[in-house]
């Protein structure tokens, strides 16, 4: 499992684990669902307009077994595509602990990007909710910028309640800085 690989520090507490908003996965799976129904749409179309097949002198009854075979094959392939989307959705997540943020980006199978940055290095965290549907369903993108010799950014889109997430990270960052430096709000660089 994942936590055996990430290896949390002793006493490190996971505050929240965030995956993309359900609307994102539903929108992606809707395409797969439509693909799943394509053979049935074709069948219904051919039953409604039988003259199309009659023009080619083809009988549906004669090829029932072949049609069932091709439909089953199509369904297997479409389901495989659907499970790929689900896997990429589920394995793609942000883990926010009381010490760091772990951003896991499952791009494709065997293509995975894991970024870890410590809360005390966090310089700026910004959220964006852009568009009608994201506003209505309250999801958007979050961008975190860390301080360092080479400035680095982490960005993830389609996250649920980005404002709440920003607040959680900010609170965790403040607590972490207090733990490390007492009442000094920012470490001296």
């Amino acid at each position: 499992m994942l936590f055996e690989k990430i290896q949390l520090e002793p006493d490190e507490e996971v505050l929240i684990m965030v995956r993309k908003h359900w609307f994102v996965i539903m929108a992606e799976l809707f395409g797969t669902f439509v693909m799943l129904l394509i053979p049935f749409f074709i069948m219904i179309g051919l039953l409604i307009f039988p003259e199309t097949l009659a023009a080619f002198n083809i009988s549906l009854v004669k090829y029932t077994a072949v049609i069932a075979f091709v439909t089953a094959g199509w369904l297997v392939l479409t389901l495989m595509a659907g499970y790929t989307i689900w896997t990429h959705y589920y394995l793609d997540l942000w883990i926010i602990t009381d010490r760091r943020i772990i951003s896991i980006d499952q791009i494709r199978f065997f293509n995975r990007n894991v970024s870890i940055f410590r809360l005390e290095r966090l310089q700026d965290i910004e959220f964006t909710i852009n568009g009608l549907i994201p506003t209505f369903f309250n999801f958007g993108s979050l961008r975190a910028q860390t301080a360092g010799a080479l400035e680095s950014n982490f960005r993830s889109s389609g996250l649920p309640d980005p404002q709440g997430l920003q607040a959680t990270i900010q609170k965790a960052m403040d607590a972490r800085l207090k733990d490390l430096y007492g009442n000094v709000s920012r470490p001296l660089e």
């Binding site: 075979f69 089953a72 389901l79 394995l91």
Partner: protein
């Protein structure tokens, strides 16, 4: 002198085409299942969700492959 083809005549029947299709899909299915299993076992954070996903994958797809094989036997 009668015309002689350099090629041996082969009959690529509908049955052969479907059999080839079944082999291709079954091969892709086996490889995909192994990849899916590996990713979920290695990278998932929730054992219960891993179990649900893998079981539902096999429950929904394996019978379809069986149906394809059975149809091929009846043709």
């Amino acid at each position: 002198m009668p015309y002689q083809s350099a090629f041996t005549e082969t009959a690529f029947t509908l049955h052969s085409a479907l059999l080839l299709g079944l082999y291709v899909i079954a091969g892709a299915y086996v490889i995909f299942s192994a990849i899916l299993y590996y990713h979920w076992q290695t990278y998932s954070t929730d054992e219960r969700m891993t179990r649900i996903t893998l079981i539902s994958f096999f429950v929904t797809t394996f019978p379809l492959l069986l149906i394809m094989a059975l149809i091929l036997l009846t043709i």
